[in-house]
């Protein structure tokens, strides 16, 4: 067994000296995801907040036809922009986001008590103007219902008769659960990281060793081949676990940069939770390492191994994709499914739900079992002479 750790020790030392491996597994992998997450998210929320608070300056075409309406808009904080000569053109050219146009029939319709038509010009396919459209619409609707109520009241009718049903939405989401909607990306990043970070070590220690022809002298040493394989597999697992820890650390730090409180949600991710997630997903590191090593051991060369790896990346995406398409309430049986159980547990925990300990234990136990089974398969592959000489 000592010699197994000799192999492990050598593979760790060898891999840590490989700049490409270190860069991929220990720097780019763990840091890139969280940075992407924080920057993207910060950008989106910043933009939303800006749009929501920015003073509206909207051109009103034919403003003189509806002085009352214009006055209402101005009282409610909207600035009157200069009306362009060709409103459609200026929307198309994106010189204005939204333009209000009072139709020529407006004064007549108004006097007749018919619905007076106000046109709202905008390009809905431009997603960034959605907030502005909503704000202008709200103002116009406010004016419409205010005038409507006054008209009904003048006729001696209670305006509340108009409102047969009143919808009262009670939002029971907590700041944590709203934050969880955003952190739902976390298991995705973690799972992908688990499969990507060990890749170069797995390839280098198997297909790479075969390609450099150092596998042959290695196998002439007096230790069972499964021990050689196990040492290599452990090295890949160790790399994955280190990378996973770094990813979680980067996420905890990164989440601190998001101005969550001002958006009324809480990003529920602290050091204790990160440690818990690390422990929960550690068995997946073994699964990933065994899977990668098995695949890479089949390959004749580095390049062939890399071409298999493209497919492996799809595996960790499956549970998250499934959860996106088909959001489910976690059930006990799901804890026996590796990857799915960890994704669910992480998601529930960041939503502020405490998951029972026996669920977590079931998840860990089943994933460890699965990982060990895969590792045994990988180890048995090295017993086959064909695999070693497949390129000679």
């Amino acid at each position: 067994m000592n010699r197994l750790f000799t192999v492990f020790d050598k593979e760790m030392r060898d891999s840590l000296r490989d700049r490409r491996t270190v860069l991929n597994a220990l720097i780019m992998g763990p840091v890139l995801g969280p940075i992407l997450f924080v920057v993207l998210f910060g950008f989106i929320t910043g933009k939303e907040m800006e749009k929501a608070e920015e003073t509206l300056e909207i051109p009103v075409v034919n403003a003189e036809l509806a002085p009352n309406l214009v006055q209402f808009l101005q009282q409610n904080g909207m600035l009157l922009g200069a009306a362009p000569a060709d409103p459609e053109q200026s929307i198309a050219e994106e010189t204005h986001d939204v333009i209000v146009r009072i139709t020529a029939d407006y004064p007549q319709q108004w006097r007749d008590g018919e619905p007076a038509v106000v046109e709202l010009l905008a390009d809905r396919s431009r997603r960034e103007v959605g907030t502005t459209i909503a704000r202008v619409q709200r103002l116009l609707n406010g004016y419409g219902s205010q005038i409507g109520q006054q008209r009904i009241q003048l006729r001696g009718v209670d305006p509340s008769l108009m409102q047969a049903v009143m919808i009262k939405e009670i939002d029971l989401s907590t700041p944590e659960s709203r934050g969880a909607l955003i952190l739902a990306m976390l298991p995705y990043f973690v799972m992908i990281g688990l499969f990507v970070s060990g890749m170069s070590v797995a390839i280098d220690t198997t297909a790479g060793e075969k390609e450099r022809k150092s596998l042959e002298p290695l196998l002439i040493n007096p230790l069972p081949r499964w021990q050689i394989m196990a040492g290599k597999l452990l090295a890949t697992t160790a790399f994955t676990l280190i990378s996973l820890a770094l990813t979680l650390v980067a996420f905890v730090i990164g989440v601190g940069f998001i101005p969550a409180a001002s958006l009324d949600f809480r990003l529920n991710l602290d050091w204790g939770m990160a440690l818990q997630f690390w422990l929960l997903t550690a068995p997946v590191a073994l699964i990933a390492a065994a899977l990668l090593t098995t695949l890479a051991a089949f390959a004749k060369s580095f390049r062939e191994a890399q071409s298999y790896m493209g497919l492996v990346v799809l595996i960790p995406m499956l549970p998250t994709l499934w959860m996106f398409i088909n959001p489910v309430k976690p059930e006990l049986w799901m804890m026996t499914v590796p990857l799915l159980s960890q994704s669910l547990l992480i998601n529930e925990t960041i939503s502020g739900h405490n998951m029972p300990l026996d669920w977590k234990l079931l998840s860990v136990a089943s994933s460890v079992l699965f990982g060990v089974a895969l590792a045994l398969l990988a180890a048995s592959l090295y017993q086959r002479p064909k695999l070693i000489f497949s390129n000679s």
């Binding site: 060898d14 022809k213 196998l219 007096p222």
Partner: protein
């Protein structure tokens, strides 16, 4: 001592080794001489238990490599054709890795590496990473690595391929020293001068079959020529591979 009898090995339709029998005695250097593709490397791989023979038997000091691979490996030192050093490890680390895999303790290993670097003159580059080593440096490190556990039997596949004069001398001196110490040494080669200078016994392999077996003198007599090279051509029946 190595005894092989009627070894056979095919890869699919290709019969790499068809009938190889020879004896390599202790205290002797046995050369497997043959053109490229004659089956020398496959024969060696069967000897060091990496390939199971399809038929025939092998005994290394009385042990069957297929039945007790681990035991055979403890007494075998091998320098394969490709050398296979780890480029990111220093020469010392390369040697120490295999030493540890043979279960040698730390202090003994340090002493052993110091001795080997004296004998093979590794001092100038022992702590450098092997990336960029010359062929000669590679072979010397690979040889030190093969000898780290003081094996009784040494197998070398084309050891002098691409070597400069100094490395060839270091290799030759080392092999002669090991022979004097009673080790059993088998090397494969297609270089005539090497066989003439080193080998006590020559096994000529052509097309997977042993074409002749004996000392240099015996082979010359058998072929009725005064030059070993002519004997070789005569015995394998063609000039193929001699210049490779």
């Amino acid at each position: 001592m190595i005894v092989t009898e009627h070894l056979q090995k095919s890869f699919g339709p290709v019969k790499a080794v068809r009938d190889v029998s020879f004896v390599a005695a202790d205290g002797q250097i046995t050369g497997l001489l043959g053109p490229n593709g004659a089956g020398k490397t496959t024969t060696l791989r069967m000897l060091y238990s990496l390939l199971p023979p399809d038929a025939g038997s092998i005994r290394i000091d009385g042990i069957d490599p297929q039945r007790d691979a681990l035991k055979v490996k403890t007494s075998l030192g091998v320098v394969p054709d490709a050398r296979g050093l780890y480029a990111r490890l220093s020469a010392r680390e390369n040697i120490a890795y295999f030493g540890k895999l043979h279960g040698i303790g730390k202090a003994a290993l340090e002493q052993r590496i110091a001795d080997l670097s004296d004998q093979l003159d590794l001092h100038d580059f022992i702590d450098r990473r092997t990336e960029g080593f010359s062929q000669g440096q590679r072979v010397r490190v690979a040889l030190a690595r093969a000898l780290v556990h003081q094996p009784k039997t040494l197998l070398l596949d084309e050891p002098s391929n691409g070597l400069d004069v100094m490395s060839t001398r270091a290799l030759r001196d080392m092999l002669l020293r090991l022979r004097a110490a009673g080790h059993c040494i088998v090397l494969s080669t297609h270089i005539m001068q090497e066989v003439a200078a080193l080998c006590d016994r020559i096994v000529i392999i052509a097309d997977g079959v042993v074409a002749a077996d004996g000392t240099a003198d015996e082979l010359r007599q058998q072929a009725g020529t005064s030059e070993l090279e002519d004997a070789f051509v005569q015995l394998i029946g063609s000039e193929e591979g001699l210049l490779a």
